[in-house]
């Protein structure tokens, strides 16, 4: 790895450490309803929202009500988005649809996938935004979820924290109040300031139609633009990741320079990192929060270093071919494929690690082009269940779930009924936590297995039809349309779902595995290289995203409810302390071991074997 890469990681991490405490303390105050420096300015707005929506601020909800409110909120948002996306062609005023895109681009399956994707904070994009979405769709239909899903995630995390901090309580807080506060006091101010800085840094914010320019070579090129900055900041801050442009943060309008790049990855981690401190603060022992932070940090740093080292060491075939892969003062060396020259290996691998640790999914380079080991890092990050800082709120509640499993085993090992933050971990909690683990594993492995072997219709090969052969096209069995690339021209039937991958072999397998891991983990980054805009991938991806989001949240809310109702056990010498180095090590061990054991066979047939194919080390048995 390079000195440059090393320093970038450390500087970035140093800033995150510095942000964690103040932001975390601020959020703790916000969610406890205490006064902050923003109280006088924003409180009237908060009160107004409650009045308009008829929210009773002091109502306390049991976990079931909380869960129903969350589900209703998400369901309404998803249906709304679906309808708005399908009708985007009709919403054409005030320059909100200068390109005149409509329902033809937004097919039903794609609209479903997209609606689910943004509702679940995944922001998987099976479409090319420039040619598919109107400005209205970007700014309203999708962007509302960038706020809503982020606020929901934070609310769930806070509810779970309350499970630990309350004793013998019936309720775990008020979903509406939590989401409103998350939006008004946390997301809004940061997004406002950040958005303005982005504009100053060169990110466009306008409603102009795309411009056609003549390049230096004399060719015509269409330059897409629009209200980018406002979308960009919340995309990062809410760990959403859905780009305004297809190239996402690799596009110079989304991510014009290294300073904005740094701000973007800071925006990704700041709330998830801060929430660890909020957790400690709310349960009355900030060391507990730092322990979680420590476990996340160790895994983040390891991933960042490994990814950087793997990319910097490059592809051995290049070296064999006599291409220089060493770093010099003028050359980055290593593997630069799929990376922006502006960012280089350091900023690209750091971005890749951060975006997959947190369930953001924005990318500033193509993970598909990484070396097998370099690509394994983002993939493994996602497979952990997005608990390395993770999505806003989602990371914390995911990590707490692993803490519950870890504490359960550790508690037995010290000879006591396990307890975490003074709450006994018993049958119900273990049941719910295991339910999450196995549903997520089933979802990722099951859909990967399906897509690695399905064909529409069985045994079919890929066929294309141009307009002249429309009659032949009509003869195809209806099943074939399940793997038909939407709005492709000429019309493209891929047949086997493995044909959607860009590469064959182990790498193709990695592409499929990565897609379902990303969808289930609600990450949304693509390994790229997979053609996802077919009914098969749209529908399976949608199911994976919904399962990954809600089958995680609901059991965790149940845990929150069960914990809140419990008494708090006083700490003694016999209690195994969960703010120690041993606990941090244990937690890391549980996260790595549980996921490594679950996904080892899959990883072995994907990136691991690819790595050994590329760098043969030893004679096989």
């Amino acid at each position: 790895m390079s000195v440059n890469g090393f320093l970038q990681i450390l500087i970035y991490f140093g800033i995150i450490v510095a942000i964690t405490k103040p932001l975390g303390a601020f959020m703790a105050k916000v969610f406890e309803g205490e006064k902050t420096f923003l109280y006088r300015i924003l409180r009237p707005l908060e009160r107004m929202v409650y009045r308009i929506c008829g929210i009773k601020e002091d109502e306390d909800m049991p976990w079931t009500t909380y869960a129903i409110a969350m589900l209703a909120f998400s369901a309404v948002g998803m249906v709304l988005t679906y309808v708005l996306l399908r009708t985007q062609g009709m919403i054409n005023f005030a320059g909100l649809n200068p390109q005149g895109v409509g329902a033809k681009e937004m097919t039903p399956d794609l609209a479903l996938n997209t609606a689910a994707s943004f509702t679940t904070n995944t922001n998987w994009q099976n479409y090319v935004p420039e040619t598919t979405l109107s400005y209205f769709s970007n700014m309203v239909s999708l962007a509302i979820h960038n706020w809503m899903s982020a606020a929901t995630g934070m609310a769930i995390a806070i509810a779970l924290i309350r499970g630990f901090s309350r004793k013998s309580a019936k309720g775990i807080g008020n979903f509406w109040v939590d989401t409103v506060r998350a939006t008004i006091y946390v997301l809004l101010p940061i997004a406002l300031v950040g958005g303005v800085i982005f504009i100053a840094g060169g990110v466009p914010q306008n409603f102009l139609p795309y411009q056609v320019v003549t390049t230096l070579e004399g060719a015509k090129q269409t330059i897409a633009q629009g209200p980018v900055a406002s979308q960009e900041i919340i995309k990062m801050l809410g760990t959403n990741g859905g780009g305004f442009f297809n190239a996402n943060s690799a596009h110079p309008f989304e991510n014009p320079n290294n300073f904005i790049n740094l701000l973007q990855i800071l925006a990704i981690f700041c709330i998830p990192a801060g929430l660890t401190y909020t957790f400690g603060k709310m349960v009355g022992n900030t060391k507990q929060g730092w322990a979680i932070f420590g476990a996340m940090s160790a895994m983040f740093l390891t991933g960042a270093f490994v990814c950087n080292a793997a990319e910097q060491s490059g592809n051995p075939y290049f070296a064999k071919a006599g291409i220089m892969t060493e770093q010099t003062t003028t050359q980055p060396g290593g593997n630069m494929e799929g990376k922006e020259m502006r960012f280089g290996i350091g900023a690209s691998t750091l971005f890749a690690t951060v975006t997959t640790d947190a369930s953001c999914g924005a990318v500033n380079g193509m993970h598909d082009s990484y070396t097998p080991l370099g690509g394994l890092v983002p993939l493994f990050n996602i497979l952990t269940g997005e608990v390395i800082f993770g999505g806003v709120g989602a990371g914390l509640y995911g990590m707490l779930m692993f803490a519950i499993i870890g504490v359960f085993i550790a508690g037995l090992m010290v000879g006591r009924t396990p307890e975490y933050i003074g709450k006994k971990i018993e049958k119900f909690e273990v049941q719910m936590a295991m339910l999450v683990v196995l549903i997520l594993a089933a979802c990722i492995l099951g859909f990967t297995a399906m897509s690695a072997n399905t064909s529409y219709p069985p045994g079919a090969t890929a066929v294309t039809f141009d307009d002249k052969h429309a009659a032949d096209e009509a003869k195809l069995p209806p099943l074939a349309s399940w793997n038909h690339v939407n709005t492709s021209s000429p019309s493209n039937y891929l047949g086997a779902t493995t044909n959607n991958t860009n590469n064959g072999g182990a790498h193709g397998f990695s592409e499929i595995l990565y897609m379902y891991a990303s969808a289930t983990g609600n990450n949304g980054s693509a390994f790229a290289g997979i053609t996802g805009n077919t009914p098969h991938y749209n529908v399976t991806g949608m199911i994976a995203m919904l399962v990954g989001r809600f089958f995680m949240i609901i059991p965790l809310l149940a845990i929150a409810g069960s914990l809140a109702a419990k008494k708090r056990v006083p700490e003694s010498l016999g209690t195994f302390s969960t703010d120690s180095g041993t606990f941090v090590a244990l937690l890391i061990g549980v996260v790595i071991l549980v996921n490594a054991l679950t996904f080892f066979p899959a990883l072995a047939l994907g990136p691991i074997v690819e790595h050994f194919q590329m760098t043969p080390t030893r004679k096989p048995i």
Binding site: G411, T417, E426, L573, T617
Partner: protein, 692 residues
């Protein structure tokens, strides 16, 4: 050897862990337990059994078709069956000792004839005909026909059939020693007993059921752990099942090799699922109960033993637990103007006829320290005045001399009645002695207080160290005593307990327990009297003394057959050990999977992806030997860990952090490393024997 160790030695009259008869019986049982209905109770082992059936079927088909890998399939099948058998064997071993004990208990349950009293008329009926509320008579040589309460008379009873203790015990009507147990034998005197339990619900019945484990219910933590293990099993099932389509893809993509056979997939699945802990889980629970039994404590449920490991607060009776039961006279303090010699003389006179240990110690002290010899009561024309609850003093009446000893207030009243008074100096002495943890007994002659006898509680040897250990384990010890707060504080300080409850009444005990529990703490206590019953019932772990009343025994969730209150401490340790064994083996079992993956995955894709051979870090010889070695290791490790499961992991009281670090190192890190050399050895052995 101090006193506690001595009792421990006595109570550990245990049978050896692997006694031949138990071993033989366990081997047989292991096969009976293959019944799918039995195995189904254990999801992990059930999966293994289903896997065994599948490979057996494949083997039979293979034999008919003369496949070339029959040797491999056959070996996998055999070892899969062995995996189930080994787990069954472990459980049978754990149950073995209990069964042996149950057999001997059943012998005590002979069909005796009871002499039932109906309206004062005796009639002979078979013991099972007795019902709750019936009354029967027992005379020397009679077996006690049913559990009951002595309502008339006093008798010495041989309870060895139940407690194993050969010395007879006294049972009498009224008071705290009124309970008799069916199956025991009256040695002397006649007692009338009221039956307190119906046939089939007796103490002996319950005991047999308990030691046999027939009514064994899973404990809360065991259930939670089972859920975790089932969850992991399902996760690994997904990982293995989806590996088949993954393999199809890979074989197509690489255009080489073939999809691993079902046998190999089953082998991988069985290796991955937590069979080690799954196979030993119930054995650990049964063995834990059994260890409690070896200490001669009857736990009414495994839940109680498990709760003992969680206890935060331990309520211990002072007398008999912390101090040796009797107080001893250690000094005489004269009142102003009285000679020490005279106090000693009067004290000895007052105690001559006092047969209590305290009284004897006064006589002995006077003799040893002041050379006053014992005198004969009759030659002195002395009349003994017995202690009564009203007067709360005792003494002698000599011609012209009334000598009394007793509590300060009682003696004060005594001298005041005769026109005397208590000097302030005497009151000071009394208070000082109390403060130092002693019991003051004032001595008076007629209207004059001569002085004060200092009685002292003797704290048992080794208690302080015990309580220090408890503290290190995070357990608070509380001494319960009827003494006044001053005395209690002094003894508490000497014994090293964390807290004390002085002048304790049953209501206060109950209130104290409730208060602790409302703070989320678990409380354990011992008790024997009927008035302890509410507190015993309220406590999370209530250990009733076998000598205690029926009410106490029913209220508690454990009965100590030796009636040794110190044992609570050991029960706590056993409870902890039980959980620790489960946790450690779970960690070990999961950590083992790493090595198994490294052995099996490269072997599975030997042809398809030869590059994966790089993962074969221990250089296993060939695909068959690698897979077999992992399967065999997986089976043998169960057997290897049976002794550990039965004995429990080693436990020394230490803070949670230290224990966790130690166990994580041994069972976590050790669990990752250990399988590599083992699998390697098995691999080489298989190759050497030509089996793979």
């Amino acid at each position: 050897m101090n006193e506690i160790e001595a009792t421990n030695q006595r109570s550990r009259k245990s049978t050896k862990l692997f006694e031949p008869t138990i071993l033989v019986r366990a081997c047989k049982e292991a096969f009976f337990k293959l019944d799918p209905r039995t195995v189904a109770k254990n999801p992990v082992m059930f999966v293994v059994e289903v896997g065994s059936v599948v490979t057996t079927f494949l083997l039979i088909r293979g034999l008919m078709e003369h496949n070339k890998d029959n040797l491999f399939v056959g070996q996998v099948t055999v070892w899969l069956w062995f995996t189930v058998l080994f787990a069954n064997f472990a459980e049978a071993m754990a149950e073995g000792r209990g069964k042996a004990q149950a057999d001997s208990l059943r012998k005590a349950k002979t069909d005796t004839i009871a002499r039932r009293l109906v309206n004062g008329v005796e009639e002979r009926v078979a013991a099972p005909a007795l019902r709750k509320g019936d009354i029967y008579v027992c005379e020397p040589g009679d077996f006690v026909a049913a559990d009951g309460e002595v309502i008339e008379g006093i008798a010495s009873v041989d309870e060895s059939a139940i407690t194993g203790e050969s010395a007879p015990v006294i049972r009498e009507s009224g008071g705290d020693r009124s309970a008799v147990t069916g199956g025991t034998r009256v040695l002397s005197d006649r007692i009338v007993v009221r039956v307190t339990s119906n046939p089939g619900e007796s103490f002996l019945d319950r005991m047999i059921a308990l030691v046999e484990g027939a009514q064994r219910q899973k404990t809360p933590n065991e259930i939670a752990l089972s859920i975790l293990l089932s969850g992991l099993t399902i996760v690994f099932l997904f990982a293995t099942v989806t590996l088949v389509p993954f393999a199809h893809y890979s074989v197509r993509a690489a255009s080489a090799g073939e999809v691993p056979s079902i046998t190999v997939m089953v082998a991988l699945l069985v290796c991955l699922i937590p069979t080690t802990i799954g196979g030993l889980l119930s054995a650990i629970g049964i063995a834990g109960m059994d260890r409690v039994m070896q200490h001669n404590v009857l736990a009414m449920s495994g839940k109680a033993v498990e709760a003992a490991g969680d206890v935060n607060t331990l309520l211990l009776d002072k007398t008999g637990t912390i101090t040796i039961g009797n107080r001893q006279a250690t000094a005489f303090h004269p009142a102003p103007g009285v000679k020490e010699q005279d106090v000693a003389d009067a004290a000895q006179l007052a105690s001559l006829a006092d047969e209590t240990p305290e009284g004897r110690s006064v006589v002995v002290l006077a003799k040893e320290k002041y050379g006053i010899r014992e005198r004969d009561m009759e030659s002195l024309h002395a009349e003994f005045v017995e202690f009564t609850a009203q007067t709360r003093m005792s003494g002698v009446d000599l011609p012209g001399r009334k000598i009394r000893k007793g509590a300060g207030q009682s003696i004060q009243r005594f001298v005041e009645e005769q026109g005397g008074s208590m000097a302030p100096q005497v009151r000071e002495i009394i208070e000082r002695i109390s403060k130092e943890g002693g019991t003051p007994l004032a001595v008076a002659e007629n209207d004059r207080i001569l002085g004060v006898i200092q009685l002292k509680d003797i704290v048992k040897g080794g208690m302080k160290a015990r309580f220090d250990q408890m503290r290190a384990m995070g357990i608070k010890t509380v001494m319960i005593t009827g003494d006044n707060p001053l005395t209690a504080a002094a003894i508490a300080a000497e014994a090293g307990v964390d807290d004390y409850l002085a002048e304790a009444t049953p209501e206060m005990k109950l209130a104290y327990i409730r208060n602790e529990q409302s703070g989320g703490r678990l409380v354990a206590m011992t008790g024997d009297g009927t008035n302890d019953a509410p507190a015993l019932a309220q406590a999370d772990v209530g250990v009733a003394m076998n000598t205690g009343t029926q009410a106490a025994k029913e209220a508690g969730n454990m009965v100590d057959l030796d009636s040794n209150p110190t044992k609570l401490i050991e029960i706590v340790e056993i409870g902890k050990q039980m959980l620790m064994t489960r946790g450690s083996l779970t960690t070990f079992s999961i950590a083992n999977d790493v090595a198994k993956y490294f052995a099996i995955i490269p072997a599975m894709f030997f042809v398809t992806y030869p590059e994966l051979g790089a993962l074969n870090v221990i250089r296993l010889t060939n695909p068959h030997s690698a897979i077999l070695a992992a399967v065999i290791f997986n089976a043998l490790i169960i057997v290897a860990l049976i002794p550990l499961a039965l004995r429990g992991v080693s436990y020394k009281p230490a803070s949670a952090a230290q224990i966790l670090r130690k166990n994580l190192l041994i069972y976590g890190v050790g669990g990752i490393i250990a399988p590599f050399p083992c699998i390697w050895i098995i691999d080489r052995a298989l190759v050497a024997m030509g089996l793979a």
